[in-house]
């Protein structure tokens, strides 16, 4: 599993890894889903989304925020995330898909928001890692 939920006094932190930035961000998104629900069934239709931001950290922040928004307005938990990240002329872009797991099939808690607190994105020997704290 390319993510791990880490202890935090009030909230939940996600440490994610991947071969590339897209995989790492998608793993962080899977961590967001895991922080929301302990057991996620393999159901739901996939949907796609695109997010642009001015930097890598901002892109991760906006991507996870967008998933939280989609969760509330679609009434589904975005799971099974996949993503590619690219940079063109200083603008960062993520093109992603997620499987929308209907709320009726899960017992879930509300993750309120993504935060910048202690956020880290960096290269490691065999790819990338990211750390993000979620407000729950």
């Amino acid at each position: 599993m390319p993510f791990e939920l880490r202890p935090h006094t009030a909230d939940v932190a996600v440490a994610a890894t991947g071969d590339d930035l897209g995989g790492t961000f998608a793993a962080a998104a899977d961590g967001l889903a895991a922080a929301t629900c302990d057991d996620i069934p393999d159901v739901g239709d996939r949907f796609s989304l695109t997010v642009r931001a001015e930097g890598r950290e901002a892109l991760l922040f906006d991507y996870l925020d967008r998933l939280i928004y989609e969760r509330d307005v679609r009434g589904v938990l975005p799971a099974g995330n996949a993503a590619t990240v690219s940079e063109v002329d200083g603008e960062w872009l993520i093109e992603a898909t997620a499987r929308g797991v209907p709320f009726s099939t899960i017992e879930a808690r509300d993750v309120k928001a993504v935060t910048y607190s202690e956020m880290r994105i960096g290269r490691v020997d065999d790819g990338w890692e990211a750390y993000v704290v979620l407000d729950v």
């Binding site: 939940v12 922040f61 928004y69 509330d72 309120k112």
Partner: protein, 501 residues
């Protein structure tokens, strides 16, 4: 001088329960922690003190950055933090308010006694759980549309009154009569409104709950009488906030401010402290949006209270009026407000902190209270007329296996804490650790069998994460508040039944 050190951060004991981190480096003002030795040990155990030091860097900070007795690590600004910035030359910071704008508590009284409720606990907890929307995707009491959301954002509990979800007495016993006059619904994004329209009248999840309680102790008879509280009385506590609408609003403005005021951000030690300079376009927009979210949260709690009245009517076969189900008060825990305080100023008239003031003047401030409660004393003009003679009610929830408290604003709160006190027991343990140490069903069974507390939640994991052992000792938190004179103990309550999202 007694000193303590945690991870290289040194605190000096100013007097009993008051610890100071002296100003050093880029700190704009000193910081203070209000805690007993036992609570200080817990506060020093995570990153709370570093976050408090970071908070002193906010432009225009006045007096001290202050950590309440229940303080703990959050993100950016600590939970249990109070920071006052100059409203003319300072800043306003969404991160110092928190994502759940006007997350707060309201207490509704009844004229039922514990004996009236005993034997009905299971029926009551099941009926409340079935009728009060909670959890993720649980909907709301009202099926809202954008027009409804706009009206709620603009008019707060006035909207609820006109729509038949409130009575005039509810407004008279709510801060600001349930309506922030500075609310600007146009400053709230469509994204936020989209998230809010299906959540109007919903508990949410995490640490939010609805709890039926009984009054076990009364400490100040005269104030309790003014509040309409007496021993053995049953009351209802509702803890929730502005739901996805408020969370999105904080997120939106954090990002807007980060982009437009990157020069301010560059001087701050944590991106989550991003702040808009006072008087800037974004400061005004955020303040208007935040006030609109405050209105939304008040209506959210109002709708849940209305639904609770209906549930009690069915369970006890009496009208809610016959059961005296009146609002005692509603307090916000995550808020920033323009307030006038007497502060120390330097020879140029700029607010300063830490004993370097040349004079004292009345100044308008943005008082950020993140996980802290306003605690205005008797006589303050902003205390509702119903309580002006005795002081503003303060409601401090404990965990579902411990007591909660009703306090009143203390006489020393204006000098010590910009009129603030604690907001709860404060978390002690992470959710991951809680799930390793507690099993939800076991916690539920023990609460019912040993303490006669009936709990129903969306999942066992939620119960484990909110187990009584996860929180600090609320009795100790309140003891410090009372001893410092920032929030005086009036009454203690104990859970009867609790529903959680």
């Amino acid at each position: 001088m007694t000193t303590r050190e945690f991870d290289g951060i040194r605190l000096e004991r100013v007097r009993e329960f008051v610890w100071e981190i002296p100003r050093e480096g880029e700190m704009g003002v000193p910081a203070r922690v209000l805690a007993s030795e036992a609570l200080l040990e817990q506060i020093g155990d995570d990153k709370t003190l570093q976050q408090l030091k970071n908070a002193t860097h906010l432009p225009g900070m006045t007096g001290h950055a202050i950590c309440m007795p229940d303080g703990h690590q959050g993100y950016g600004f600590p939970v249990g933090g109070v920071g006052a910035t100059d409203a003319e030359n300072g800043c306003i910071s969404p991160g110092a308010v928190g994502y759940d704008i006007n997350c707060g508590v309201r207490m509704m009284k009844t004229n039922l006694t514990y004996d009236d409720v005993r034997g009905h606990e299971e029926e009551l907890v099941e009926a409340l759980f079935a009728n009060v929307p909670s959890g993720l995707g649980g909907g709301g009491v009202v099926d809202g549309d954008i027009d409804t959301v706009e009206a709620v954002l603009s008019r707060g509990v006035d909207w609820a009154l006109e729509a038949g979800w409130a009575v005039p007495d509810d407004l008279e016993h709510c801060e600001d009569e349930g309506r922030r006059p500075d609310a600007d619904p146009s400053a709230v994004s469509q994204k936020a409104k989209d998230r809010g329209k299906n959540q109007l009248g919903s508990l949410g999840s995490g640490n939010h709950f609805l709890e039926v309680q009984r009054v076990t102790d009364v400490y100040r008879d005269d104030v309790a009488a003014s509040y309409g509280l007496e021993a053995d009385q049953v009351v209802v506590l509702i803890h929730c906030g502005s739901r996805g609408l408020g969370h999105q609003t904080c997120t939106d403005y954090l990002r807007k401010i980060e982009k437009r005021h990157d020069d301010v951000l560059a001087a701050l030690p944590d991106k989550e402290l991003a702040a808009a300079p006072a008087g800037s376009e974004l400061a005004e927009e955020y303040y208007g949006a935040m006030c609109a979210c405050i209105n939304f949260a008040w209506v959210n709690r109002q709708l849940i209270m209305h639904r609770t009245r209906q549930v009690f009517e069915r369970v006890f076969d009496r009208s809610w009026e016959e059961m005296g189900m009146d609002l005692l008060y509603d307090v916000a825990h995550n808020i920033a407000k323009r307030e006038t305080h007497t502060v120390g100023v330097d020879p140029q008239g700029r607010p300063v902190g830490g004993g370097v003031a040349a004079d004292r003047e009345e100044r308008e401030l943005y008082v950020h209270r993140k996980g802290a409660t306003r605690a205005f004393p008797a006589g303050h003009p902003e205390v509702p007329a119903a309580y002006r003679d005795v002081g503003q009610p303060i409601i401090i929830p404990g965990s579902m296996g411990a007591g909660s408290y009703v306090l009143r604003g203390g006489d020393d709160s204006m000098d010590l804490t910009f009129g603030s006190t604690a907001h709860g027991a404060g978390r002690l343990m992470s959710r991951t650790q809680a799930k390793q140490e507690f099993w939800g069903e076991t916690v539920q069974d023990e609460l019912r069998d040993q303490q006669h507390v009936y709990v129903k939640a969306q999942s066992g994991a939620t119960v484990a994460e909110e187990a009584p052992g996860v929180y600090k000792d609320v009795d100790e938190v309140v003891r410090v508040s009372d001893a410092l004179g920032i929030g005086d103990r009036v009454a203690r309550t104990y859970p009867v039944c609790n529903i959680k999202g």
